[in-house]
């Protein structure tokens, strides 16, 4: 264990002492005006008229913009596909979800802005609504975008191998329909934007401070809406962001909106999203309706997989959607050897809020179907859910493993990791205890999920939404690049510039550790500065904090840059020590001879030589202690003509065993024990890794038992405050946890590290669902969706006299005394 692993996070002291620098506390543009947004109360309606006159004459109001100003001043956001579903940051002629912006009021403060927003009059003509994914497919469904002639924003079918033949020859076919709910991650800090529009001599330019964490592929999308070159749009991210989890990627439409508001106000405009706005109008993971089919041989081995996925992306195909369908494309067969696959991938628009990234992006939806299906298969094969997985997990000798969809699993020991998760909680004993509990009339279930955890997205997967014939060579996308910059000052202090836009993950702590260890320095001699300013921080399309990119990509870039710094330091020292540079190594803050430790120069001295005495450097050497690196993995290439893609650079493994008890009277599920094992390659910092795993588990717990952004049948959101949108708190998250790790280093990253911030967000919801299904297995109940709580289970079991559960006994009585 390296030195830093014993230290706390460098981020913690300022955050705990109230020294965090969050955008709403800062005035980087000087005094700003405040904006309030008037939002649609209707899920679907034509806008007949918007009357802004009273609001404009309201004392303290500086500017008000509505549909007319947006149509004149902005362009539709460029979409991922060519579908005719124009998307602006504000409703132009009709509103398509409750919470859609209709007008922006800019005033001297937020109170006045909200008062004035109250007097904007909008004349709506309500239209029929479409709420669920399946209803959007109905040919008689109301159309959200008449120009498209359909609510289906994208519809593609992919076939790899010969699944039809396999299904025909299968001994057993499991065929199930599932649905996955939409939920969020509810970051503590909501969206925050300051925007300033300036018309300079050579055209307009926009500067915006925003708690945006990427992907920076959204910056060209934003520039397209603003109608300005990408390089005239300057995005500055504040030093601290209060959580993101993918949700804050969708702040970008508000940057466009506030830039336009600033143009009309002639002054920088600030907008801080409040929680009510956030819950109805920001973003969430997409809800999905799916049909999953598995063909099996008699012995329980998987022969082929068919999935029909219908993502409900809400009112617009807001970029980067429909990526929820494709983020896991290369690992759509999960941790199993399956070489014949058919996928139908559709995204439909409905009268719900647009969707986007959410921790685990695409994985929780995919694995809910796949892992529920595997449990259903186990039941039909009369195999233990652990045994059916054993028989189908990819063997350790198969790596690098090529999936039928183009994924290249870089490393793994799936069987060993899986057995460890079972052994750590004595799975056989748990099953024995379960039998005893059932004999006593108790409802206890054990659930398992085994997943592949993709990290370091290859953004080329977005192309899959476009038919092959519309992706001519030279018009493809690929890549998974991350940039860093390292510099050394004249006294040997190292500064690492991170444009990785963390939101609390601890990037600075790990970056400092990685660079110090690589340069043989004490950690105190390295400082990591987190700063993203698109004008000065190196960045590219794939930059940003999403898809667990830091551990695999940013640290690889750090190694590249640190090694170049080391080369210069060794060159400088070689002159002074009169030793060839390649015989020198960096250790213990020194540059020393590999064989003779006494022939040494301090790192500080060597750095000083480069700065103060560059004339002493060998011929051809440059006095450069300022290195940028752009890690560019060659494995992240564009989709093939046959639609195969290695959709991530790295593929970790995760598994969970969950014991769940359901109270026979109240039907409340409670988590009694969790065993989790992760293989994220080389572990960089065990404390931070464990924090990520716990966070992801609690996020998964939310999806499994508590959270849902629910809508009424008519399209009204019914979980619009934290009284109804229930995030698990510490009281709900205190289940006993056994967490363990395996390390099979990735061969494609510099340190062998893979991402691990998302895995349990993908696996835990379905592991819990499998446990609940197991607990209720004797009652003939089908668990096909989430969340699972007492009322849902009551409705599943039915309102029978006996409740369908064993004879009651006063199990809970003692708890209230």
């Amino acid at each position: 264990m390296s030195e830093a692993q014993h230290h706390g996070r460098v981020e913690d002291i300022p955050l705990l002492c109230g020294q965090g620098r969050f955008l709403d506390d800062l005035d980087p543009a000087g005094p700003t005006l405040s904006a309030a947004i008037l939002r649609s109360p209707h899920p679907h309606a034509l806008i007949r008229q918007v009357d802004l006159t009273r609001a404009r004459s309201f004392p303290g109001v500086v500017a008000v913009i509505g549909p007319e100003e947006v149509r004149a001043g902005l362009r539709p956001f460029p979409l991922t596909t060519r579908v005719a579903m124009e998307y602006y940051p504000l409703a132009i002629d009709r509103v398509r979800y409750v919470g859609e912006p209709v007008a922006v009021v800019v005033a001297e403060d937020r109170y006045v802005a909200e008062d004035a927003a109250d007097v904007v009059r909008v004349d709506y003509e309500p239209l029929p609504t479409v709420v669920t994914a399946r209803s959007a497919l109905d040919e008689n469904a109301s159309l959200l975008h008449p120009t498209a002639g359909t609510n289906v924003a994208t519809d593609r079918t992919f076939v790899f191998g010969d699944p039809d033949e396999r299904f025909e020859q299968a001994d057993l076919v499991i065929d199930r329909e599932f649905s996955f709910p939409r939920y969020s991650s509810t970051p503590m800090e909501c969206y925050s934007v300051i925007a300033e529009w300036r018309d300079s001599g050579d055209g307009p330019e926009v500067t915006s401070w925003a708690n945006f964490h990427g992907p920076f592929s959204m910056v060209p999308v934003l520039a397209g809406c603003l109608g300005i070159p990408v390089s005239r749009l300057r995005i500055i991210v504040p030093p601290d962001i209060g959580g993101g989890f993918g949700i804050k990627s969708a702040v970008y439409p508000y940057v466009a909106l506030m830039a336009l508001a600033s143009k009309h106000a002639g002054h920088p405009v600030r907008w801080t999203e409040d929680r009510l706005e956030h819950l109805v109008g920001s973003s969430a993971g997409s809800d999905r309706a799916m049909r999953c089919q598995l063909a099996l041989a008699e012995d329980g081995t998987f022969q082929a997989l068919r999935v029909d996925l219908v993502d409900n992306v809400g009112a617009y195909l807001r970029p980067p959607e429909p990526s929820t369908l494709y983020r896991c494309f290369g690992n759509i067969t999960g941790a199993y050897h399956i070489d014949a696959v058919q996928i139908r991938a559709r995204a439909v628009v409905t009268n719900k809020t647009p969707t986007g990234l959410n921790r685990g992006f695409g994985g929780q939806q995919l694995y809910f179907g796949l892992e529920r299906l595997v449990d259903e298969a186990a039941k039909d094969c009369q195999l233990d859910p652990a045994e059916i997985r054993r028989r189908n997990l990819i063997g350790a000798d198969a790596f690098p493993y090529h999936t039928p969809t183009g994924g290249v699993y870089d490393s793994g020991e799936y069987h060993e990791a899986f057995e460890r998760a079972l052994k750590n909680v004595d799975y056989e004993r748990l099953r024995a205890e379960q039998r005893e509990a059932r004999a006593r009339g108790e409802l206890v279930g054990i659930g398992i999920a085994t997943i592949v955890d993709p990290s370091a997205t290859n953004i080329g997967y977005v192309d899959l939404a476009t038919p092959t014939e519309d992706r001519p060579p030279g018009r493809q996308k690929s890549g998974s690049t991350e940039h860093v910059r390292i510099s050394v000052d004249p006294y040997g202090l190292v500064t690492v510039l991170l444009g990785s836009v963390p939101q609390g993950q601890g990037h600075a702590t790990v970056a400092r550790q990685v660079v110090a260890d690589r340069l043989g320095l004490h950690h105190d001699n390295v400082r990591a500065v987190v700063s993203m300013d698109t004008e000065s921080t190196p960045w590219t399309i794939s930059s940003g904090s999403y898809s667990s990119r830091f551990a695999p990509l940013v640290t690889s870039a750090l190694i590249e840059a640190a090694d170049r710094i080391a080369t210069t330091i060794r060159l400088a020292a070689s002159v002074h020590l009169d030793v060839p540079a390649d015989e020198l190594k960096l250790a213990e803050s020194q540059v020393r001879h590999r064989a003779d430790a006494d022939r040494a120069l301090s790192f500080r001295h060597a750095a000083g030589l480069v700065h103060w005495d560059p004339g002493s450097l060998p011929a051809g050497a440059t006095a450069r202690l300022y290195e940028e690196a752009a890690f560019t993995p060659p494995q992240a290439t564009a989709a093939t003509r046959h639609d195969q893609i290695n959709s991530s650079l790295c593929y970790g493994f995760g598994t969970e065993v969950v014991v769940c008890r359901i109270d026979v009277h109240t039907l409340e599920p409670s988590i009694e024990l969790v065993s989790t094992v992760h293989d994220a390659g080389t572990i960089l910092n065990p404390v931070l890794l464990e924090g990520q795993i716990r966070g992801a588990l609690v996020h998964g717990l939310g999806g499994a038992l508590y959270e849902e952004l629910a809508y009424s049948g008519s399209g009204q959101p019914v979980t619009a405050t934290f009284m109804d949108y229930l995030c698990p708190t510490a009281a709900e998250a205190s289940f006993p946890l056994v967490s363990d790790h395996l390390e099979t280093p990735s061969p494609v990253t510099a340190l062998g590290a893979k991402g691990c911030g998302e895995g349990s967000s993908m696996s835990f919801p379905v592991a819990v669902a499998n446990a609940v299904a197991d607990a209720l297995s004797a009652l003939g109940v089908q668990v096909t969706s989430l969340p699972l709580h007492g009322s849902i289970l009551h409705d599943l079991i039915g309102d029978r006299d006996d409740g369908g559960v064993p004879a009651p006994h006063p199990a809970r009585a003692a708890s209230s005394g």
Binding site: L726, S791, P808
Partner: protein
């Protein structure tokens, strides 16, 4: 999420409060702990012209033992009552108050504020009904006393007029023959209950004198059920010597039908009507048993 404009006054006496309420009737609202009113203002769900802050009012009681009752004044925080030594005299308060929101909420929220707000899923209105508390109300004519069981008229609605102030509540103190129980089910710790029950049983020897169960979270107001007959039948001939499980099992035969009557809410995404009936049936059987056994123990001198 900013409140619309309002006038703010902070009178020092009950008379001053009533005067302000009367002057702006019906557009004045009392601010005590603000745990319900402030969010409502911020969400612009209410637009009172005047906020009458009662936190400076001097002529309201604190927490005081008065005759056979514990009197709690209008500005007493829930947390203060929860931790007050005198609260031991009303065991149902001790049992129920930790279930009100979270500690932070109880540190601000007032006892009388919760009663005046009249949320049908709140704990204190149910406790007040169960033990037959009395509410003291001040208006321009003077004062009046209203029994808790007639105070709550509908969801978030009470007999309080727009120019009236709830000045205190009197909870009867327990006798040696009383037993109490409280339980609620919410989706998360600290949330409003999906369903809850408070029980008061008075037993002397083999005789069950009282068995009142008040359910909350299940109707427009707390609903009280006289459970004596059902409890007598469940305890049967053996009385206090009946096996505890046998009492509960017997009660479980009756409570589903009772739950069907008591639970009239249409339900929501957190709990359907059917599910809340299931909860009330289960909680009623458990908590009636428990309160009965506590009453019997109290009679027998067991603390």
């Amino acid at each position: 999420m900013k409140a619309p404009p309002f006038a703010y006054v902070r009178p020092a006496s009950v008379a001053g409060v009533v005067e302000h309420l009367s002057r702006d009737e019906p557009d004045a609202k009392i601010l005590a702990g603000g745990q319900s009113l402030v969010p409502v203002l911020a969400m612009r769900l209410a637009r009172p012209a005047t906020i009458v802050d009662i936190n400076a009012v001097e002529d309201v009681p604190g927490v005081e033992r008065r005759g056979g009752a514990l009197e709690v004044g209008a500005t007493v925080r829930q947390r203060e009552l929860e931790r007050h030594p005198a609260t031991a005299a009303v065991p149902l308060l001790r049992l129920s108050m930790p279930w009100i929101g979270h500690r932070e909420v109880r540190s601000r929220g007032t006892v009388c504020g919760s009663l005046a707000h009249g949320d049908p899923a709140a704990e204190l209105p149910a406790v007040a009904c169960c033990v037959e508390a009395e509410l003291q109300i001040a208006n321009q004519q003077g004062t009046r006393t209203v029994p808790a069981r007639t105070f709550f008229t509908s969801a978030m609605t009470t007999v309080l007029g727009p120019a009236e102030m709830l000045t205190s509540v009197r909870f009867p103190t327990a006798t040696a023959e009383d037993g109490y129980a409280f339980a609620e089910i919410s989706r998360r710790h600290g949330d409003y209950a999906l369903a809850g029950v408070t029980v008061h049983v008075r037993a002397a020897g083999d005789e069950i004198l009282r068995a009142d169960m008040t359910a909350f979270g299940v109707s427009d107001t707390p609903v009280t059920w006289d459970a004596r007959e059902v409890l007598r039948s469940a305890t049967g001939a053996a009385g206090p010597d009946t096996d505890r499980r046998a009492i509960t099992t017997s009660l479980m035969r009756d409570t589903p039908a009772i739950a069907e009557q008591l639970v009239t809410t249409s339900g929501d995404i957190h709990g359907s009507r059917g599910y809340r009936r299931r909860l009330v049936a289960a909680l009623a059987a458990q908590e009636l048993t428990l309160a009965y056994l506590r009453a019997v123990d109290a009679t027998q001198g067991v603390p």
